[in-house]
Amino acid sequence: MGYHLNFNLIWRHFDKLWGGLVLSLELALVSIAIGIAIGLTLAVIHVSGGRIVRALIGAYVEFIRNVPLILLVYLVFYGLPTAVDISYDATTSFVATLSLYAGAYLVEVFRSGLDAVPRGLIDAGKAIGLTPWQRLVHVRLPTMLRITLPALSNTFISLFKDTSVASVIAVPELTYGAQWINFNTFRIAEVYLVVTSMYLATGYAILLALRALERRFVIGR
């Protein structure tokens, strides 16, 4: 067991890791933004729509939730362009996949959040003469967002970690950067030690920031 840790080669290529981390964060941010848009829209349609619409949304949610993310990534990047005439780069493909993935989880989060809005608040909205749409926009959604903020934080942190899957289609995010350094230096233990710390530190920093945000907003409940 004469292995000596040597981080010199890692530091020499650290720009790969730093750039990867930035890209990972960008992927997570863009995907959660699109995912929230998808989730909100479908949740609202779900609570006000008919049976067929509900079934379609349910099918989307169950499909995404029951297929491994890595497979979804392959399907969208390799499968879709061979089936239909469409082309996109790996990063675009991954953002689309991760957004659809986040959207499916967030539909459920927002839907149960809407259900959890106290009846009394809806009654109060009715009593002052708000229409159903006004009650949704001014009473149910703002209340729901406060209820779902903790779940939203968890989803975001999961997404940040899930960006590592993008390495399988050569999107140069953090995990891909680690693999690149592996192939070129064979300093496997060192690279993964550094990358693990980077995921850990970033994820924890995000967690602390979001908890602070929750305290600010959930205070109203």
Partner: protein
């Protein structure tokens, strides 16, 4: 000014043969009740007697099965005509804006400040400009003694303060009738007074009110008429002096009142 005889002219609120059941459980078994403009009518009675359901039917937070509720001659919830069809949501919203309601659990919008709670209906339903709505909100919050709390969130207010915001939110809409649903039941005893004072003040200014309460003393002080409900029916009704003075001989009423220490 005090309209003790509801038969004079058309009452503002006219309820006839109101029936309502939740599945197998019948809650209202044919309630008749009139409230004239400017009148304060208090509904008392044992829990489960249908008081709150009656109140919630008046602004159609509950549907009803049979009978009729009219406010200013307009049928609540259902379209006029032989076929019993529900009004459109827009129509329901318009009619609900004509009645104010204050809830047992306050039900303030948690994400809005006291002033914003009052302003929401003014801006979105009454279509008032923000500045005017703010001025009206400030006026009413000052009236209920909360001039210092305009920009506080509900979570930063005591129960009594929250309920006063609830009252301000309802009266700011300038409703034809104010419905009060056990508005002091969720309050600590020492906070009840500040809320009831506001209601007494409104009553003295001629606000029409239908009040469900467990505060017998308050019912005596504020009401033109008191209605005793039990088992989904109005078992006794009359001016508070008659009802509480023993002039009306109803066994259930006597049993109910005795729990509050005989003479109130």
């Amino acid at each position: 000014m005090s309209v003790l005889d509801p038969s004079s002219g058309t009452p503002l609120l006219r309820i006839r043969g109101l029936e309502k059941a939740y599945g197998q459980v019948t809650v209202l078994r044919g309630v008749d009740l009139d409230v004239a403009k400017g009148e304060v009518v208090t509904v008392i009675g044992p829990s489960g007697g249908g008081k709150t359901t009656l109140l919630r039917c008046v602004n159609f937070l509950e549907t009803y099965d049979k009978g009729s509720i009219r406010i200013d001659g307009e049928e609540v919830g259902y379209q006029d005509g032989p076929r019993r069809a529900m009004r459109s949501e827009r129509d329901l919203a318009r009619m609900r804006a004509e009645t104010g309601m204050v809830f047992q659990m306050f039900n303030l919008f948690p994400h809005l400040t006291a002033a914003e709670n009052v302003m929401l209906g003014l801006v979105k339903v009454r279509r008032k400009p923000k500045a005017e709505a703010r001025a009206i909100a400030e006026h009413w919050l000052r009236r209920v003694g909360l001039a210092e709390k305009l920009d506080r969130l509900p979570s930063e207010l005591s129960g009594g303060q929250q309920q006063r915001v609830g009252i301000a939110r309802a009266v700011a809409m300038d409703p034809k009738i104010l419905l009060l649903d056990e508005i002091t039941s969720a309050l600590d005893p020492e906070l009840v007074g500040e809320v009831l004072d506001v209601v007494l003040q409104l009553a003295s200014e001629g606000m029409t009110m239908l009040v469900v309460t467990h505060e017998i003393g308050f019912a005596r002080d504020v009401s033109n008429r008191v209605v005793f409900m039990a088992d989904g029916l109005i078992a006794a009704a009359g001016p508070p002096r008659e009802l509480f003075g023993g002039a009306i001989e109803v066994e259930r009423l006597r049993a109910f009142l005795s729990r509050f220490g005989a003479r109130v």
